[in-house]
């Protein structure tokens, strides 16, 4: 059963302020722009450290990686030294990242707490 994409935003104040996007549902060629534009809005309003919680993602294709790539580029373009981290990928999502070489490029953590502690 395909699932609509949902994105819930939370702010955490740890070592540094972190904006978390809790993503659930299918991240495919139809929905990836929703994630990219949502993150873009947040970065435009000053979000600097961004964590994508992938725990609720039920399907992700290469379009999901396109969105993550786009978010990375937006953070880089903002020029504030912001960081992008990923957390909680399912085995299937982790496999896609590994197949396409994203696993060695992005900082990927097993849990949100672990990722937050790494900022």
């Amino acid at each position: 059963m395909s699932n609509p994409l949902r994105i819930a935003v939370a702010e955490e104040k740890g070592n540094v302020p972190v904006t978390i996007l809790h993503i659930s549902g299918d991240l495919d060629s139809k929905t990836y722009t929703d994630l990219e534009s949502k993150a873009g809005d947040l970065i435009g309003r000053g979000a600097n450290n961004v964590l994508l919680d992938l725990g609720g993602v039920t399907f992700m294709g290469s379009a999901g990686l396109r969105a993550i790539h786009g978010i990375f580029k937006k953070l880089s373009a903002a020029g504030a030294g912001g960081k992008l981290k990923l957390a909680n990928p399912s085995d299937a999502v982790a496999r896609i990242m590994k197949t396409l070489g994203f696993d060695v490029i992005f900082d990927i953590h097993g849990t949100v707490d672990e990722a937050l502690g790494s900022f």
Binding site: S2, D28, S29, S62, R95, T99, L100, G101, I105
Partner: protein, 143 residues
């Protein structure tokens, strides 16, 4: 696919991203998780999603364009055939994004779909149909 072939079933969708979820539901129904051993079914699902996405996004289909997805199973493999009326494109011959260039150094992260399709299925065959359309066959064998 000659022994124990089950009758093939087909789904026809519009060449529109709104119908992409229907394709995944169809594949999930006919090739359920665990049916090919390991995550074979999940890998086939992903490859089919990428192939249909490519047709919709890059095929220049007409607004009323249709895509047919046909699934046939036997105990050892699942075969998915995708037929469309989009611009002719042979995914088996097309060049992949350059993997020597880091994804972060690219202007766009496109081109990964083709790489995924090729790595996730055991056979990939393309032909132009008698009607002048594209036909792509993806075969995933049981592990």
């Amino acid at each position: 696919m000659s022994q124990g072939v089950q009758s093939a079933r087909s789904l026809e969708i519009r060449a529109h991203l709104d119908d992409l979820g229907r394709v995944r539901d169809f594949i999930n129904e006919l090739v359920p998780p665990e049916s090919l051993g390991g995550d074979g079914a999940g890998e086939l699902l992903l490859a089919v999603d990428e192939a249909v996405s490519n047709v919709i996004m890059h095929g220049g289909s007409r607004a009323d364009g249709r895509i047919e997805v046909q699934v046939a199973r036997n105990p050892d493999a699942a075969c998915v055939t995708i037929r469309d009326e989009a611009r002719l494109f042979d995914p088996t011959a097309a060049r992949e994004a350059d993997r020597d260039v880091s994804p972060l150094e690219r202007d766009e992260a496109g081109g990964f779909g083709l790489a995924l399709i090729r790595r996730l299925v055991d056979e990939l065959r393309y032909r132009v149909t008698e009607d002048g359309g594209n036909e792509l066959l993806l075969v995933k064998k049981r592990k």
